[in-house]
């Protein structure tokens, strides 16, 4: 029995408790929301690093709520994949809350922002660690509802319109997921994921599983903004305040969409060739359509939002290949994308903070006036475009190699093409925004305050050093364990019960 199992609930408790305290005391004490937000996210980051160490032996940890053992009670499961996702989410959350200390001064009611932010974080952490199907739905809704409110945070015309569209589409997605859970429950008579995996393995395939799969692909696909379901993302992500855009694009669509999709299909229902090919097709479509739509954009944040769709396509493509290398590549790209896409959104927030515009035509030469923003943006652009020493290159390379190894030359070709188009579109951003002639109007622009600079620089350093994770030691500690959790498939159920009965 590992001592860390008792710490697992703190991932949810700390975030929800922080949200409660901020909403209680933040209205009167002006400094309190900042401190509470930073402390909560920092302690969550420390806890998630400890979680990686706790599961580095290769096993998994189970916490049964109220000591009711599964399959009766609700349990939290911490395995390699969950620890990996926790580190990703909480790392970005900490850096984003550091950035928000200065950035959110533009808005009134900072405490409302931190309350919703921590609620969303608690929801995401809950989705990652839960081992119960209905519990997954509840946490998913906590995170989603907090994010609708955060998209509408500015309460201007565009924000409200985007938030309404996002809220309606995402609620429909949640309903599909709930309906899938209803059918799974009626088929297996259990809600515990591990028990469900065991029961499904005994029963074999049937038509109801096909229907459940379709419902889950639609539901989680809507949350992850895969291509036929992507219409809300390009409106919702740019309309939110910059730190929230970074959270939404960086981690929300991954933990609610990609992670939940993988957990359900790999560990509970069990992956099969038909599902794999659905993943491959959806991934490739997202990759290409996202990047084609992005090239024509002149609104900086909207361009970045379309790139999120495209990069999620890479992740799904890697995961859909189903080979060990493909899964590790997909997860590695998931981590890298959260780092560089949050950095890009924070950069765009800094530019908007300093110049008051998001239109690429009205910018130019900003690297002279804003050296930190300009340089970190250059790092992030090169990462997302896949220029060699940066992290984005390695993960894309692994995905393409995995596709070639799996004899999927068709998909490998499209992955290379999408990468080239990404490079083209980021050359456009760099040229129009940071290089070129400084516009007359922008002569008085100043660099952003210190907290924003620190946060962006830290993310840029992670972008540069991120490639080291693929070295054998980093791989075996961090990515390999996460990949293994998916590869072991439905024997997840057996492992959870072995751990509980130990």
């Amino acid at each position: 029995m590992n001592y860390f199992a008792g710490m697992i609930p703190f991932f949810v408790v700390l975030a929800l408790g922080g949200a409660f305290l901020v909403s209680l005391a933040g209205r009167r004490l002006k400094i309190f929301p900042d401190i509470a937000g930073l402390l909560t996210t920092f302690s969550l980051l420390l806890l998630s690093v400890l979680a990686v160490i706790a599961v580095s032996g290769g096993g998994l940890l189970v916490y049964s709520i109220g000591a009711w053992r599964p399959p009766v009670g609700i349990n939290f499961v911490l395995d390699g994949l969950a620890a990996f996702m926790l580190v990703t989410v909480n790392l970005i959350a900490f850096l984003v809350s550091l950035y928000a200390v200065n950035y959110m001064e533009r808005y009134t009611d900072k405490w409302k922002f931190y309350t919703l932010f921590l609620l969303m974080l608690g929801g995401m952490n809950g989705v990652i660690i839960t081992g119960d199907m209905f519990n997954l739905f509840v946490y998913l809704e906590i995170a989603s509802i907090a994010s609708y409110a955060l998209v509408a945070f500015g309460t201007e015309k565009h924000e409200l319109e985007a938030a309404f569209k996002y809220a309606v589409m995402s609620t429909v997605g949640s309903l599909f997921i709930l309906m899938g859970i209803v059918f799974l429950y009626s088929y297996t008579s259990t809600l515990n994921m591990a028990h469900m995996a065991l029961v499904l393995a005994q029963r074999g395939t049937s038509n109801i599983l096909l229907m459940v799969s379709i419902l889950f692909i639609m539901g989680f696909g809507l949350k992850a903004a895969l291509v036929p379901f992507h219409a809300w993302l390009p409106d919702a992500h740019p309309s939110a305040p910059a730190p929230i855009s970074a959270m939404l694009s960086g981690v929300l669509i991954k933990s609610l969409g990609v992670y939940a999709l993988c957990r359900v299909f790999y560990n509970v229902i069990g992956i099969n060739p038909a599902l794999s090919s659905v993943f491959l097709v959806l991934g490739t479509l997202s990759m290409l359509i996202g990047v084609f739509l992005a090239i024509g954009q002149w609104d900086l944040k909207r361009l970045l939002a379309y790139h999120s769709i495209s990069q999620i396509g890479y992740v799904i493509l890697g995961l859909g290949l189903g080979t060990p290398l493909g899964i590790v590549g997909g997860l590695f790209h998931l981590f890298n994308h959260s780092v560089f896409k949050s950095l890009l959104f924070l950069n765009s927030g800094s530019v908007e903070y300093a110049t008051g515009t998001r239109d690429l035509n009205k910018m130019g030469g900003l690297i002279k006036k804003m050296p930190v923003t300009g340089r970190t943006n250059l790092v992030a652009s090169m990462s997302i475009a896949g220029i060699p020493p940066f992290n984005g290159f390695w993960s894309k390379l692994i995905i393409i190699i995995a596709a070639v190894q799996a004899q999927e030359f068709f998909y490998a070709f499209w992955a290379v093409l999408a990468s080239i188009l990404t490079l083209a579109s980021f050359m456009k951003v760099t040229k129009y925004c940071y290089f070129g002639r400084l516009k007359e109007k922008l002569k008085g622009v100043k660099e952003v305050p210190v907290c924003m600079k620190v946060s962006m620089s830290l993310l840029a350093i992670i972008c540069i050093l991120g490639g080291l994770l693929i070295l054998p030691r980093g791989e075996s500690l961090f990515l390999g364990k996460a990949g293994y959790s998916l590869l072991k498939g439905t024997s997840y159920g057996n492992e959870v019960f072995e751990e509980v009965n130990k």
Partner: protein
């Protein structure tokens, strides 16, 4: 069987309302209808014909009982839909203040 199909039909009515209606309030009503349909489906899959409440007493022999778990889950689900509906209505009110209309064909500033 026919009950389940009617329930799915109700869900489709909700979806139709969300996809085809132009008035924001009607879209919200569509969301509510779809939520009701899913909750109803959840209760229906737990229902057993002629079943009784799953209460245990020493002398009674329980032969056929209704599954009580989904009823507890549906309560949670109703509370969640209450929260999301309240938020949707709040956003709709703010939209009306800004645009002075509920017609989504006139609320289209985001495109591209």
């Amino acid at each position: 069987m026919i009950v389940y199909l009617l329930c799915l039909l109700l869900f489709c009515v909700g979806l139709y309302c969300i996809l085809r209606k132009r008035n924001i309030i009607k879209i919200i009503v569509g969301v509510i209808i779809a939520e009701y349909a899913v909750n109803l489906l959840f209760i229906l899959v737990a229902y057993r014909r002629g079943g009784r409440a799953p209460l245990h007493s020493p002398d009674a022999v329980i032969e056929n009982m209704v599954d009580a778990l989904p009823q507890a889950l549906v309560l949670t689900s109703i509370v969640i839909s209450l929260a999301s509906t309240a938020l949707l209505i709040a956003i709709a009110m703010r939209i009306y203040q800004k645009y002075r209309t509920f017609d989504i064909t006139k609320i289209r500033e985001l495109r591209g």
